[in-house]
């Protein structure tokens, strides 16, 4: 457990801002999620919502029931009483992806002038930036790396994903576009810095486009079986496993999603942050291997 304490601030007159780190550290994301859970468990009257992000969080409160200063006092108490990171009940979810698919390729083509080198599709640019000899070895490396959902948001259900089991320096990285695109297809998988994101709705964006997944992550009309309870699929802490499919494989899964017969392969697991931090590659391997 990191010893430094969080910084507390006001996010206007209806949020409190809690910042654990200004750097990207998975340990601090685990702390953020642990603390978010502990706040929910404390059931403090007047809290509207806990909104965790990567290494910080917002806590929205009802000013008629709770003053920010007393809320901050309560939060500091919770932070101090957290002696270790809590286990995070989470899920490993299979994400079929068609790399260099026609839709994101069309988008990359349309915004060629915004791109760093103008290369279409973007995947070969990203592979080269990361010193892979060819597209296939890049795809193999990406599919061998599980990605942790550090945050959900920006647009509805959009996951921000960070690689598990590798250090910051080994993470696959790419610069963002020089100028953002004005649209991106939904379900496009993009890479910006060391983060992967899945675009949840057709939206502007500047991440390098790698491919498109079959899996909807936001279903506004709640048509699909996995969205009956909630229009958003993913939660912070969910682990995504990429599975490269060809066009036939993509079409088969998509047809099943459309007619409601395909269910996302989901495996429930308990993630132990302390165990992970002791041995990131070993822990990740055991977790993903089904151990």
């Amino acid at each position: 457990m990191a010893h430094r304490s969080a910084r507390y601030d006001y996010g206007g007159d209806r949020y409190v801002f809690v910042e654990f780190s200004i750097d990207m550290e998975l340990a601090q994301n685990f702390k953020t999620l642990s603390m978010a859970e502990a706040i929910k468990q404390a059931r403090i009257p007047g809290i509207v919502e806990v909104i965790p992000s990567i290494c910080s969080m917002l806590v929205e409160y009802d000013r008629t029931k709770l003053h920010a200063d007393s809320l901050i006092g309560r939060l500091k108490g919770i932070e101090q009483s957290m002696t270790q990171l809590t286990q995070i009940p989470t899920r490993i979810i299979d994400f079929p992806i068609l790399f260099a698919d026609p839709w994101t390729t069309e988008c990359a083509e349309a915004f060629k002038g915004h791109h760093n080198t103008g290369e279409v599709p973007n995947i070969d640019f990203v592979a080269r930036e990361n010193h892979f000899s060819d597209r296939e070895s890049f795809i193999n490396a990406l599919c061998a790396t599980p990605y942790w959902t550090v945050m959900v948001g920006f647009t509805p259900g959009l996951p921000w994903l960070y690689p598990l089991g590798v250090g910051n320096e080994e993470a696959i990285q790419a610069p963002k576009y020089n100028r953002p695109r004005t649209w991106t297809p939904d379900r496009a998988v993009g890479l910006g810095g060391a983060f992967l994101a899945i675009y949840s709705v057709r939206n502007p964006g500047g991440y390098q486009l790698l491919g498109r997944t079959t899996n909807p992550i936001y279903d506004a009309r709640q048509r699909y079986p996995d969205f009956k309870e909630n229009p958003v699929l993913l939660k912070p802490g969910d682990i995504l496993r990429w599975r490269s499919v060809d066009r036939d494989g993509y079409d088969r899964v998509w047809a099943g999603i459309e007619d409601g017969t395909y269910r996302f392969p989901i495996r429930n697991v308990t993630f132990e942050p302390e165990g992970y931090l002791r041995d990131p590659p070993g822990y990740t391997k055991a977790l993903m291997g089904g151990g």
Partner: protein, 327 residues
């Protein structure tokens, strides 16, 4: 029922308090951009103040009433007319079946509200009737209104008798000049800006740009000085880049190195990688919604308790005490 016979620039179904509780999933609260005006309109027609009405931005649609309804128009003055004749604002008016509501020049403000006795009858989605168009949920089919849309009206909470002629107490009608003063709580990631940068932020009459919608209001003015720093790993290459964090609704961040502040109103994106300099207090978002391209805006630093007091005052305005009867 009422029918949209001609589409305006952007009209959508909105309620007052929106859809709180889903921001951690990237779903913003939405709701009327000027909640005070919608709420007063609802009171005029005997509705609960949180009932759904229509938010009408700049260029109004044409609306045909298919049944008689008690209605009220509040907010910015977009020169509303009933069958071609000017119709008074901030006052309950009877519309007959077949009457046509239209709008003309924008005289002041940016958004007008149409409240109808009984409210606009759309399904509750995640607890609210508010439209969030970017996320395609709420309101009428999750989108802004189009020509040909037919909207149902709910059953009035009180019999619509004696409603006509009810007016908002003139001393309580908000004024929308070409300059808005917004109260802001400095903080969140204000450490990215120098003291001088924050001073510039607070002493500039910012020009409201042409990029103003429910997701973001962009302002034009000087560059804000930022501290010299190497952005943290994973954050990007600009000194105002931070590891992606939550954006409070009402928060202001700059893009690029301290340029073009963006304020995030009710359809805010929930987080991102730019440093927040501060957050406008909740009540003043009403005023943001009535500012338009070419207007000026100044931000004044306040404490959160000022925000709480202003909120209590607004809640007091949203009561029957603001309504007077007859001339």
């Amino acid at each position: 029922m009422l029918e949209i016979v001609q589409q305006g620039l952007e009209a959508s179904v909105q309620d007052l308090y929106g859809r709180p509780g889903y921001y951690s999933q990237g779903i913003p609260p939405s709701g009327a951009q000027d909640g005070l005006s919608l709420g007063l309109g609802n009171l005029l027609v005997g509705n609960d103040k949180n009932e759904a009405g229509i938010e009408i931005t700049m260029l109004g649609p044409q609306v045909r009433f298919r049944d008689p309804h008690a209605i009220a128009l509040t907010g910015g003055d977009l020169s509303p007319k009933l069958n071609g004749d000017p119709v008074p604002m901030w006052e309950t008016v009877g519309a007959k079946a077949g009457d046509l509501l239209s709008f003309g020049r924008m005289m002041n403000g940016c958004r007008a509200y149409l409240a109808v006795a009984g409210g606009i009858d759309v399904p509750l989605v995640l607890g609210s009737k508010a439209t969030y168009a970017r996320g395609e949920i709420g309101g009428h089919e999750g989108r802004v209104l189009r020509k040909g849309d037919v909207l149902k009206v709910g059953k009035p909470a009180v019999p619509p008798v004696g409603l006509e002629g009810r007016r908002v107490d003139p001393s309580r009608i908000p004024q929308f000049g070409a300059h808005a003063d917004l109260r802001v709580v400095i903080g969140v990631e204000s450490y990215v800006y120098t003291e001088r940068g924050i001073k510039t932020f607070l002493s500039t009459d910012w020009q409201v740009s042409s990029k103003i919608d429910r997701v973001g209001y962009r302002y034009l003015g000087p560059q804000l000085e930022c501290v010299t720093r190497t952005p943290p790993f994973g954050a990007g290459s600009d000194p105002t880049n931070v590891v992606d964090s939550g954006y409070p609704v009402g928060s202001v961040h700059t893009t690029g190195p301290g340029v073009e502040p963006i304020l995030l109103p009710n359809d805010a994106v929930s987080g991102g990688g730019f440093a927040t300099i501060g957050t406008v207090i909740a009540v003043d978002l009403d005023r943001v919604g009535q500012s338009k391209t070419g207007d000026t805006t100044r931000f004044t630093s306040v404490r959160i308790d000022d925000g709480y007091r202003a909120w209590d005052e607004r809640e007091n305005l949203l009561t029957e005490s603001s309504i007077v009867q007859g001339r």
